[in-house]
């Protein structure tokens, strides 16, 4: 029981990070119907920014966090303009392949610049974990879950209530009609990418606090899992990404605790496959009908 609760709590912590990254995937997919394979690698870019600033330059962590977010946003918007925008009307397979290309580009550039050896991430907090009855909640997990939930709530409010947020929703539904409203669609899409990447930047930071090691390929696995989380919850649907993220984190953690560490990846993919087969549009998604 104690093990279960501990694993559950760990799972919520990882899940929160997956959820943050998943939000970026789902927002981008919702608006341009593109799976941004490079999203996890943007997270890696943010991590490197943070680590280099804190270790090599000695910058305090709040500033490193800001810088991390800024760099992620910069890369995200740049990539969108250069690699994705020209392909907006092309067949989907082309944008998928381009996204894969961008992902590899980021990974290999990082490898060349910083070597494949992992760099340690400096400790940020040194607060003792809270324990009761054998169950321990680390400060990091607590902060992670809190920050993530706050951000998610904030994002939801933003998308539902703000002028830009509504514009984003309008563009996701019908790009042409949105243009007729006077909405600058290109700017809206860039903003979406920016927000998604900013969240990835924060997610990166929290991830590094929990798993303090930065390597060029670090973004691949969490990116993939976050992506699966987004699909699981229903891609394009914000609450779906949050739900999916937490489910993924908990499933992974419980598998690691009760089954085996090696199989945790397989379990995670297995969940995805089962969901896609029975509800292709995801847990919270709606079925799409092709017009004949």
């Amino acid at each position: 029981m104690v093990l279960f609760l501990n694993q559950l709590i760990n799972g919520l912590g990882t899940g929160a990070i997956y959820a943050l990254i998943a939000l970026g995937y789902t927002m981008v997919y919702g608006i341009v119907k593109l799976i941004n394979f490079a999203h996890g690698d943007i997270m890696m870019v943010g991590s490197y920014t943070a680590v280099l600033l804190m270790v090599n330059v000695g910058v305090p962590f709040p500033i490193a966090l800001m810088a991390s977010m800024f760099v992620c946003v910069f890369f995200g918007v740049l990539i969108e303009r250069v690699a994705y925008k020209p392909l907006r009307d092309a067949p989907r397979i082309c944008s998928l392949i381009t996204a894969i290309g961008v992902s590899y580009l980021l990974q290999n550039s990082a490898q060349l610049l910083f070597s494949a050896n992992p760099k340690p991430f400096p400790p940020v907090f040194s607060v003792a974990p809270i324990t009761f009855g054998g169950v321990s909640i680390s400060f990091v997990t607590l902060v992670t879950v809190l920050v993530s939930v706050l951000l998610m709530v904030g994002l939801n409010l933003f998308v539902m209530k703000s002028r830009t947020g509504k514009a984003m929703r309008a563009v996701s539904e019908d790009m042409g009609a949105a243009k007729l409203m006077g909405i600058n669609v290109n700017m809206t899409i860039s903003t979406t990418f920016a927000i998604g990447c900013a969240l990835a930047g924060i997610g990166a930071f929290l991830y590094c606090i929990a798993y303090p090691s930065v390597a060029p390929t670090m973004g691949a696995m969490p990116g993939l899992k976050a992506f699966i989380a987004a699909v699981l919850g229903g891609i394009g649907i914000l609450p779906g990404a949050m739900l999916g993220g937490f489910i993924m984190g908990v499933a992974e953690s419980l598998t690691k605790g009760f089954v085996s560490t090696q199989l945790s990846d397989a379990v995670v993919y297995g969940i995805l496959i089962v969901v896609l087969l029975f509800k292709p549009s995801g847990l919270l998604g709606k079925a799409q009908r092709e017009k004949v």
Binding site: I35, A83, P86, L87, A90, P91, R92, I93, C94, S95, L96, I97, T98, I100, G101, V102, S103, Y104, L105, Q107, N108, S109, Q111, L112, L224, F227, I228, V231, S260, Q262, L263, D265, A266, Y269, G270, L272, I273, L276, L277, P280, E290, V292
Partner: protein, 618 residues
């Protein structure tokens, strides 16, 4: 003058043999050392992988991201079997190879089937993700099984592979891909890529062919894996990860999705290049990624697009034979099997097509209700109504695209409600679409040939090995297809790409293709849409010809009233999903409800219009 086909066979066989002899002797003499012969063998293996992935991603048009997983299954299976057979039964390792390779291929194919059946229900992005997921699952499972050696994999596999073995297997795979591509099964697969909805409506079971392509591709990936295992001598699951799948994807994309020649070239280049640029090994993946991006932005078709290299063509050009075109022997001299002509039995006076209280509800919306219509043999019947009345919905129900929630559809007296589209085509209904759905990058002739699919019988094996049944049936449909085109005055365009035709011709082609399935009922959905008056007049003539020559009944949806009133014998008027009128053109024209539905009104009554009478009605 030599038969073209024979010439092509001889040329290609000679080229293959000559190439083999050259390379083999270079290897035997030591001019090509072990290192380079190893590279040549890897090229062969990679060609097999790329060409098989091209079947799924290029020919079928579905992005599959777990191809390396099948290679893995093949590699492990083959490696384990060879080791077991040679260790426990004392067999000579080289003799085990055929068995191991075959077993590897078969097991990979089984995996392909098991994965394909659920996965291929999804499309596009989702399919890509799910194949990625399955590929990773395979990897994880293999890494955790005892029999596959766990995380460290298997080693000390007898390295019995060599250049001749790899070369000939590679050639076999290439040839099979070519012959499959040129058979009716290959056409079916291509048509799915071009337009899956149209493919289904021409009688092709899209699901079955997707699974077939996927499984077939997996089989060859398994064989490639087996070759790999016996080349390198050890395998571990980590080698066949997502990165490896991407490497093959890059080869397919670079060569051109849909071109076997392109895949061969790309595989060769991308195997050779990293070896030659060993010092730049660090930059290899970087270059790949940039290349992928640049290709998609500037040349998504890749090196070859969908074109193939033809040795015969080059030879003809070089030897000047090109100018003196070889006249093909009149086909009638050869044995020919014509496509089936179904025997449509119809009770006298009974309608060929009839709906009884047909209706459909989408969620809260009743899109059609109580639709009772019938079409008699040889009739031309019109289905008209304002925009949004539900006409295409009715067509979609008649062709199995939608499942009606109420009522029944009877074709030749038998119920077809609930049957799948491709089955309904076989039973005798063909249709065209509001937005033209041609197989754009296929030629006019090929578009027609796809439609003969349901009326043909030869198996994939027959197609691949060019058995007599294949030759006879292909000749048959070639004859029939050209006949059809002649009826429509389109024979000269036979070799033109479908998307190169002017709009009016494209419409005609769609109708021609529908007729190739030998239907009893032809459904035309707004055939005159987007046509100018001249084209419309031509269309009217065409429909007249169809009714007379082809023993079919025609049901057509149209907005162009000149057309409808000009050729329809009876007309149904649909509004808000219900039939509001039925009768002859003059009945309909004077029907006040119809006038109201179409022209609108501002008063409650509208006086009927008599022909030729000037009208001051408001």
């Amino acid at each position: 003058m030599m038969n073209r086909k024979l010439k092509s066979y001889i040329l290609n066989l000679s080229a293959i043999a000559i190439l083999f002899v050259i390379i083999s002797s270079l290897i035997d003499s030591g001019a090509i050392n072990k290192y380079y012969s190893g590279i040549l063998i890897m090229i062969g293996i990679n060609v097999i992988m790329t060409v098989s992935l091209n079947l799924t991603t290029g020919f079928l048009g579905e992005l599959a991201l777990g191809h390396a997983g099948f290679m893995s299954v093949g590699a492990f299976t083959a490696g384990i079997i060879t080791k077991q057979l040679s260790a426990s039964l004392g067999w000579d390792a080289a003799a085990c190879l055929p068995i191991s390779l075959l077993a590897g291929g078969i097991l990979a194919a089984v995996m392909g089937f098991l994965i394909g059946v659920p996965a291929l229900r999804l499309k596009g992005d989702y399919l890509a993700i799910i194949t990625l997921g399955f590929g990773e699952i395979l990897r994880v499972i293999i890494q955790n099984m005892q029999i596959t050696g766990g995380a460290s994999g298997i080693s000390r596999i007898p390295r019995v592979n060599n250049f001749p073995i790899t070369y000939f297997i590679m050639i076999a795979v290439i040839v099979i891909m070519f012959t499959l591509g040129r058979s009716r099964h290959g056409r079916a697969i291509l048509s799915i890529r071009e337009n899956a909805v149209a493919a289904e409506s021409t009688g092709i079971s899209v699901t079955r062919y997707k699974i077939f392509a996927f499984t077939f591709a997996a089989f060859f990936a398994g064989i490639a894996g087996g070759l790999y295992a016996h080349q390198i001598g050890r395998v571990s699951a980590a080698t066949f990860d997502f990165n490896k799948s991407i490497e093959y994807l890059v080869m397919v994309v670079l060569g051109g999705m849909g071109s076997i020649t392109g895949s061969i070239i790309a595989a060769a280049v991308l195997t050779l290049l990293p070896e030659l640029l060993r010092e730049f090994a660090d930059y290899r993946m970087l270059l790949y990624s940039i290349m992928l991006i640049l290709m998609m932005l500037f040349r998504p078709k890749g090196l070859m697009g969908t074109a193939e290299f033809s040795l015969t063509f080059v030879w003809d050009r070089l030897t000047g034979f090109y100018k003196r075109a070889t006249k093909p022997r009149p086909l009638r001299e050869h044995a020919v099997t014509m496509p089936d002509v179904p025997n449509y039995e119809l009770a006298a006076g009974a309608p060929v097509l009839e709906t009884k209280n047909l209706g459909i509800r989408f969620g809260g919306l009743q899109a059609a209700e109580n639709v009772n219509l019938h079409v008699n043999d040889h009739e031309i019947v019109g289905l008209i109504g304002p925009n949004g009345a539900g006409k295409t919905t009715v067509f979609n129900m008649l062709t199995g695209v939608y499942l009606p929630t109420e009522g029944d559809i009877q074709l030749l007296g038998r119920s077809i409600t609930g049957k799948k589209t491709y089955e309904i085509v076989a039973h005798g209904i063909a249709r065209t679409f509001q937005n033209i759905r041609l197989f754009k990058s296929m030629t006019v002739l090929e578009n027609i040939k796809v439609a003969f699919h349901t009326r043909m019988h030869y198996t994939p094996v027959s197609g691949i090995f060019r058995l007599p049944k294949y030759t006879r049936e292909e000749r048959g449909i070639d004859l029939r297809a050209r006949e059809l085109l002649r009826v429509f005055n389109m024979e000269e365009s036979a070799e033109t790409r479908a998307d190169g035709l002017p709009y009016g011709q494209q419409r005609k082609l769609e109708i021609c293709r529908a007729l190739a399935t030998n239907p009893k009922v032809l459904l035309l959905d707004e055939p005159a849409a987007g046509m100018n008056p001249i084209e419309t007049r031509e269309l009217m003539e065409t429909i007249g010809i169809i009714r007379n020559r082809f023993n079919v009944a025609v049901l057509l949806i149209e907005h162009d009233m000149k057309l409808v009133m000009g050729i329809c014998e009876r007309i149904y008027v649909l509004n808000y999903g219900r039939i509001i009128a039925e009768g002859s053109p003059s009945d309909i024209r004077n029907n006040p409800e119809v006038i109201r539905a179409y022209l609108g009104h501002s008063d409650r009554d509208t006086k009927p219009v008599k022909e030729g009478e000037a009208n001051g009605n408001a």
